[in-house]
């Protein structure tokens, strides 16, 4: 039987990729371990090695093909004695045509089909350019580093490797190793070192490969960065940004999948930013780098590859601490942040089909919370559902619900309700992981519940 060679998944979040180059041709004998092809994921170009031995009967996907789905047959391998006619398996040879089916599930790398409401403060006629969150973050850092020589980036693999998630791609080339600094794997140490440099007035950007690893550095973030302005009576402080991916990635288990939004949002002395859209990622990261306070900037790995319109402006800086109404609605207020905003948007589209007009607020900043925007919306819609990936106990949604209950009690027509991740460590098994994360179905159900609709 001929063996099908399938498009491999080469990262935890990869669902499709580009078959950049074949390193074998039809008729070649291949040995196990031999490199067959180069495949581009959203993060890197990887070599793909043969597992089985045999002769390449047919290449099913042409070099240069984009959006090749994981597990799609890309070649056929013949055993001894089989001839090329055996390679005519059912899968039709594919041309380089991209597969552009919009993803249905919220964990897919493509963004939900939704045109974000433009920021009202943008000058009329501003050109919008589709940009990935990844590029938006990189552009923000590059622009601020060009603007201010005191800004530098440090972290694991940020320089020569170009970023574990390719957020710092190209920065080493432009700014050199004085300002783009690869650190040893010592979060506690380099976070503290950066805080010390910030005490002296430099403006470090500390990249944590993920926020999970920042727990090693928690003391320096909380005790040194956040408290020094207060403890010194305003004499010194840490003007700096701690940033990196937060929340669940995909199939990486309990120690690599957690959302720290509520942890950091509870600490006086820091500001906490958790954007969803690329424009917010850019405008708020630029603001964070300029801010004289320590900033916790929570990104999301799943969202890095999503594309959104970003205004083409020389210096696009957004205010920290301002939520944005992403979708206007009259029946219910959904308050969300980070990746869960995408879920709220999907839910709103489904609810609209059922006659429920939801308003969506993207908090963007978790500390300070823009309660004015939340309260004004709830006073209009009389119903509140918070949507987040965080654990349920003492979550950001918990805080919002409590504040709304206290400050808009008389306006409420239903109990404020949360949709969150489940109260468990993240399981590895695919089905359990799916169940541990909030779903669009759960958001829809929660909204219907507060609207007394079944």
């Amino acid at each position: 039987m001929p063996t099908q060679i399938l498009m491999p998944a080469l990262s935890p979040t990869m669902e499709e990729g580009k078959l950049a180059k074949w390193l074998v041709k039809e008729g070649d004998i291949v040995k196990s371990g031999q490199v067959l092809a180069e495949i581009e994921t959203d993060k890197a170009t990887m070599e793909f090695e043969a597992v089985d031995e045999g002769r390449i009967g047919k290449l099913l996907v042409a070099a240069g093909s984009e959006n090749v789905k994981v597990n799609e047959p890309i070649a056929v391998l013949l055993a001894d004695g089989e001839d090329a006619s055996a390679a005519n398996v059912k899968a039709a040879p594919k041309a380089a045509a991209p597969v552009a089916t919009p993803a249905a599930s919220s964990s897919a790398p493509a963004a939900p089909v939704f045109e974000a409401a433009a920021d009202p403060d943008l000058p009329a006629g501003t050109e919008m350019v589709m940009t990935t969150v990844r590029e938006a973050l990189r552009d923000a850092m590059a622009e601020e580093m060009r603007r201010d020589g005191d800004v530098f980036l440090m972290g694991e693999e940020v320089a020569q490797y170009q970023g574990a998630y390719k957020i710092s791609q190209g920065l080493l080339d432009e700014f050199g190793d004085k300002r783009v600094i690869d650190t040893p794997i010592t979060e506690h140490g380099f976070a503290g070192l950066a805080v010390g440099a910030a005490f002296d007035g430099l403006k470090p950007i500390v990249e944590f490969m993920t926020w999970n690893f920042a727990m090693q550095a928690m003391d320096q973030i909380v005790n040194s960065a956040a408290k020094t302005r207060y403890m010194s009576g305003g004499q010194m402080a840490a003007p700096m940004v701690f940033r990196g991916p937060n929340g669940a990635a995909a199939r990486v288990g309990a120690q690599h999948s957690q959302d720290y939004s509520a942890w950091y949002a509870s600490i006086p002395g820091v500001k906490v930013i958790a954007p969803y859209f690329a424009a917010d990622a850019k405008g708020l990261l630029k603001a964070a780098i300029r801010d004289p306070n320590p900033i916790i900037f929570l990104e999301n790995e799943i969202c890095y590859g999503r594309s959104f319109p970003v205004p083409k402006l020389d210096d696009f800086v957004l205010p920290i601490g301002k939520a944005r109404i992403v979708r206007q609605g009259k029946d219910v207020t959904m308050v969300s942040y980070s990746i869960a905003v995408g879920m709220a948007i999907e839910a709103a589209e489904r609810l609209a089909a059922e006659g429920i007009d939801a308003e969506i607020i993207d908090l963007r900043t978790l500390r300070p919370l823009d309660m004015d925007t939340v309260l004004a919306s709830v006073k209009k819609t009389n119903r509140l559902v918070t949507v987040e990936q965080c654990w349920p106990v003492c979550s950001v949604g918990t805080e919002i619900c409590q504040r709304v209950a206290l400050e808009a009690f008389d306006y409420l027509d239903a109990p404020p309700t949360k949709v969150t991740g489940k109260d468990v460590p993240m399981p590895y098994a695919a089905n359990l992981e799916k169940a541990a994360l909030p779903t669009v179905d759960e958001v829809v159900a929660a909204v219907k519940a507060v609207c007394y609709r079944d």
């Binding site: 010592t186 140490g189 010390g196 440099a197 320096q220 005790n223 302005r229 403890m231 010194s232 009576g233």
Partner: protein, 327 residues
Amino acid sequence: MKSFANGALSNSEAQKKLYYDMLLIRRFEERSGQLYGMGLIGGFCHLYIGQEAVVVGMQANVTANDQIITAYRDHGHMLAAGMESRGVMAELTGREGGYSRGKGGSMHMFSAEKKFYGGHGIVGAQVPLGTGLAFANKYRGNDGVTLTYFGDGAANQGQVYESFNMAQLWKLPVVYVIENNQYAMGTSINRASAQSDFSKRGASFAIPGVQVDGMDVEAVQKAGAEAVAYCRKGNGPMILEMKTYRYRGHSMSDPAKYRTREEVDDVREKRDPIDHFGSKLVQRGVCSEEDLKAMDTDIRAIVTDAAEFATTSPEPDMAELYTDILA
């Protein structure tokens, strides 16, 4: 133990200043202990009595570009860095006139003007911070050196070695001053440290280290001068282990049952940094017993004035509760 105390300093005024600075710390700390006993200083209060030669000897080598950072046994460091005794004492009493306007306390005090970067309450946390200050010097291309002080207890913290690694890797101008006072709170170094020669703690990073008699202010100054010069030249970090001793408990609430009265008395009698240096000054003819007494009288007046200020300065305004959190 390597000793640098072979020759007297040439400048008699500089010698008198070393004595004066040590005695100021001694008298300041004695008064702090008294105010604590009167309930005027709260919380934790860690006195530096016995260790005065370390910070005074080291700070004699710094310039206005150099930074200093330490842990919570910090009153002596602040005085040696040139901070006003009034402001330090008023911070101990939690008053408006304190360096942090009463919001930091004994363990958390700072002076941007004197480049004193705290005053840190978490054991070992100041070591990466001090390394970062040195990073800033290198980044800016100035010739500043950072003196990062920590104790034998902190020397077992993992972040210290993370810092050593980066400091040597990037050749950062930082002197790590390990104040080995023999006890990490109540645990003697022999019960807590597999390698109790702290000058060797940087060996695996090839950071040079020297043991110094931390009870001999001139030995400290000489070792400090060499270390600061080494760092200023861009050679990277250096470690100085100061063999010293604290007379008081770890903090005011420590009864110090883990050592004998005789042990403390023995150090006081044979190695006291102030008495011994005072005797040397008289022997050398730098000053007379009367001169030393006159210095003591002056210092007592300064400390009395500081205590008066610290107990009459008002408590911070209630509005201070919500200031200085964010800029």
